[in-house]
Amino acid sequence: MKRPWHFQRKLQTSGMLVLLGLSVEAVCLLWSRPIAFVILASVGGLLVVAGVLLFLYSLAFVDSHPEVSKTAPSPS
């Protein structure tokens, strides 16, 4: 069942995670050291994947139109 509200909040969190992950990735690509590879794959990868999964979760389970859900008449 879709829960009302905070789709946009989740979207912001997802965006922040992706933004952080991409920043880590960019730094690692410019920092040519063996440890950069590990940081890119672990920290960067984890942040990006977490952001993407949160976005997909929001799409599937969080209502994107809370005001409609709250005002719409019940089917019964």
Binding site: Q12, V18, P34, G44, G45
Partner: protein, 209 residues
Amino acid sequence: MPTSAIVVLILFSALLAGVLVLRPAITLHAGGKILAFGVLFFLPLFCLLAGMDNEMERSKSTAFCLSCHIMEPYGKSLHVDDANYLAAAHFQNHRVPADEACYTCHTNYAMFGSFKAKLGGLRHLYVHYLKTEPRPEDIKLHEPYNNRECLHCHLGARSFEQGAVHNADPDTLPAVKTNKLSCVSSGCHNVVHNVGTLDKVKLWNEGMQ
């Protein structure tokens, strides 16, 4: 894909992600939803895969391996001016690609060879950051060097198949090909890096002839 192009793509994606963070209300419209899908699903995953692929390719380079301080003597051993030094002879005569010299000989030419080589690299990082590093001359291979890595290039080559020493004893070549007699065993090609004696040998000054 060049590193600079990936970095530009990452910065562009990060910029769009920043717009979504600051203005999440744009997803109330259909266009905004499509943008969100691109920015929070397609682009980050594409950037991640492209970045990892780029790092994997870069990790094959000689410069990458030699960027660790402990590997410096091994890099120096590639410049020894003595054809008996196996690694130096291969590097200087471009029997292996000079920019991927370490990887070419130290990867495993079996299935998942590159993957196993990278796992070995992770172990190096673990030792480097969390354990006491051995001296360069005390570094040993994880397992005995497999002839398969040599035969990947040399098998079928005239100098290998018809070489006088290889054919002096009829049992030698079959033993080498079945990995029963190591190419780097004593009395054969056993001078490889020999980093412990580098201060006693003459170095080849590339491009200074």
